[in-house]
Subunit: 188 residues, 2 copies
């Protein structure tokens, strides 16, 4: 993301910035259009689908390069996930850095566990890393109409909350776009 | 705002857009830093200040070039506005167009009525037009630490709701910025 000050107090009487950034920058959501031509753009998803009951899978003990298996998720989540949001807390959001480790060896969802989430009828999947997984993982979720929220952060106090939590990730309303930044919050 | 597709399905396996836009584009908030050097940027305002009880002043019968007086607002709002959000519904959000009328003759708040709102201790002021008023109007509100939400839209069903409504306008979390886009919603 680039941000430039294009007006300022002394000269213009006000401050204004111009931003240049990918639609999938910072905390953001992926709509099915991100992977499939002709699929739903984010504004075609009803607003209330972006908020709801969420279960946080505490995976902060994940190893580098780990691929979460269905068994691993099963241990950290309740049995009934129908229409629920699943938040994968890997702890890697707090370690962000342009290191080889952070960029290329994060623990991620894989195709098989994405499929497991699809079978359980989840509504959306969030993760505290810039990507939920590889291309196939994205495809598995987005083909099922499950939205993805990436680059989240989970402050420590989140793990003390009674679950399910109420999670909101309303994206900016960009018509016809494949994704957009959001302001994710847990409403407690 | 400019949006370009910088990756697409056939060639890259996914769709991605690059946006170039002012921080105060579309539905957005102004922080005090918009008008005052060294004043609070949007990330310095506690998150829960961006949501709360809101009173909608139905001003859809406003005339072009009208400046809302304190008397006019008083007729459309309850007496106690302490820590409340005031939403000015002019109807001009629905008429958006690059016409001389829309661009230069909208009904607006003025300095005196902004001062009246400051005296009543409001928390934030929203309007369904790209600006709440002139430079002095902005100054009056922002100097008092009152945030401004601009370029809102009020769908007709909003006017049937029991007031106060719960209004949310959580902005994108841009550190050190004078404002940012938000996804404004009424939670009913």
């Amino acid at each position: 993301m680039r941000s430039e000050i294009i007006a300022d107090h002394a000269k213009d009487g006000w401050r204004l910035e111009r931003l240049t950034l990918a639609s999938h920058s910072g905390s953001h959501v992926d709509a099915p259009l991100h992977k499939f031509a002709g699929a739903a753009s984010l504004d075609e998803i009803p607003l209330d689908r972006w908020l709801g009951n969420a279960w946080i899978a505490d995976l902060r003990n994940a190893k580098s390069d780990e691929r979460f298996t269905a068994e691993r998720l099963e241990q950290r989540l309740p049995e009934n996930l129908n229409d629920a949001i699943v938040l994968l807390a890997t702890g890697w959001g707090d370690r962000r850095g342009k290191t080889d480790l952070w960029l290329h060896h994060a623990p991620l969802l894989c195709r098989q566990s994405a499929q497991w989430l699809v079978e359980r009828g989840v509504r959306g999947v969030g993760i505290d890393y810039y990507s939920v997984g590889d291309a196939e993982t994205h495809q598995e979720l987005l083909a099922a109409g499950i939205w993805i929220a990436e680059d989240l952060r989970f402050p420590p106090e989140v793990f003390q909350l009674k679950q399910p939590v109420q999670f909101w990730c309303l994206p900016i309303n960009l018509k016809g776009h494949s994704g957009a930044f959001c302001r994710p919050v847990i409403v407690a």
